[in-house]
């Protein structure tokens, strides 16, 4: 199994919690977004308290702080884009791309602008797939959109569907163009009839009309759906709770976002 954690740490020094998360989940890759701590400092602590194998894969993008403990996974950057960093990810015999995303924030960008961002992100991912000649893609990050927002599911946007069955036919045609389907498993984690929290962010202001939002998501390209084992929203970092008494992200002691843990199987045939 390959385990990848994504966490928007809200510009706080949460290194201690990040190390606890890494120990508790035995994560192979940790991606921190909005990390105000210099990545070299985070790496030093990860090496000292979790594993000396951790390293920072080569990258020119500064938005995402990536830490990897298995050199076989590669994780080196192949594209630095508009709020994205695309990495090579090698799992078993599978060569894929991991596109890290930080969408436009809700406070300063209306839904039209964020939809436009989703469209340009999709165009950019198609470009990188073409340049690298790789079909398999995992898109991971803080999209600042919910799974049901138009940009997430428009054909020319991220074309991300609710179930594995929805993406089985691979592509859909729109205005004479074919667009690859992505499976968005975050749909299955929405609301209070799930095992975990109802979303990754709780906000009742005019930017969060539903209370809970699922801004942190993973999208799985239709070609690697069978490698996808699962995704969990994490509410604790080892022994430390990162949620408050109401089960919401505890922004006082941790972040206003919960981290997500994505697990991929490597023993799947090409």
């Amino acid at each position: 199994m390959t385990r990848i954690i994504f966490w928007n740490v809200n510009n706080k020094d949460l290194t201690r919690l990040v190390c606890s998360l890494a120990i508790a989940t035995t994560a192979d890759v940790i991606v921190l977004n909005e990390n105000s701590v210099p990545s070299a400092d985070s790496l030093r602590d990860l090496r000292a308290t979790v594993s000396p194998d951790f390293f920072i894969p080569t990258s020119t993008e500064r938005r995402f702080h990536c830490f990897c403990r298995n050199p076989r996974l590669d994780m080196s950057e192949v594209h630095n884009g508009f709020r994205t960093s695309v990495r090579k990810l090698s799992i078993g015999t599978h060569q894929m791309l991991l596109a890290l995303v930080h969408g436009l924030d809700l406070r300063n960008n209306d839904s039209e602008t964020r939809q436009s961002f989703a469209q340009s992100l999709s165009t950019e991912i198609r470009f990188v797939k073409d340049q690298q000649n790789v079909e398999k893609v995992l898109v991971l990050g803080d999209f600042n959109m919910n799974p049901y927002d138009r940009g997430m599911n428009l054909a020319a946007g991220l074309n991300a569907m609710m179930t594995k069955e929805c993406v089985r036919r691979g592509v859909r045609r729109h205005l004479g163009e074919e667009y690859d389907f992505y499976y968005n498993p975050m749909w299955s984690l929405l609301g209070d009839l799930t095992n975990g929290p109802a979303g990754t962010v709780y906000d009742l202001s005019n930017q969060g009309p539903y209370g809970w939002s699922m801004l942190d998501q993973v999208l799985v390209h239709h070609s690697i759906v069978n490698m996808f084992e699962g995704v969990r929203i994490l509410t604790s970092a080892g022994e430390h709770l990162i949620m408050d008494g109401n089960g919401r992200p505890d922004s006082n002691t941790a972040s206003d976002h919960f981290p997500i843990l994505v697990t991929l199987r490597e023993d799947v045939d090409e």
Binding site: T58, T60, R62, R63, E77, V78, H79, N80, G81, F82, R83, E112, Q115, S116, Q119, S120, T123, E124, F127, V128, Q131, Q132, A156
Partner: protein, 183 residues
Amino acid sequence: MSKFFPAGLKLDDSQTPMQILEEAMRDWEVESAGLLALVLQLAKSQSGNDLILVHGKHVPSNRTISLFSVVHRPGNPYPATIQLRQDDLPKVLRKSFYEEGLGKALGIMSTVQGRTVNNPWVSDTPSEFRSKLQEAFNSGLIKSEVLNLVAGTPEAVEAAKAVEAVEAVEDPADLQKPQDDVE
């Protein structure tokens, strides 16, 4: 001399933004000796306009970076606008930056009254587009991003070694020797 023909309009210069960008592609190939390439990607904007995404590529490693995009209406190459990537650098790494004054607090007043917003990246003619394109390529942000793309690669390490070797030969002490010999 005509008083009524549009000033600055040259009918023998009707290159589209795409043709000008293709010229830029050739420039990059020649100037970088094939190390760097510009890659142009065609797309549609959300509002249906034609979009040319301009990417830089480090050819030996096949690593890429999105530089900026050019937008114009379908079938009408002008006006065209250049949309630069967002500058996320902290203030300490910027040569200059805009500091908000009291004007921001009063900004709502100007919004109520309406104001003219200028877009300095819009071009109405090929010559204007060429000039703004040069300006975009020469912006500090693009220069540093392109250098970051090359830095740390095996080719860059080799080049640095070559420069070090040349600098070692050009050491003032080394240069002194032949003069001594002449004496």
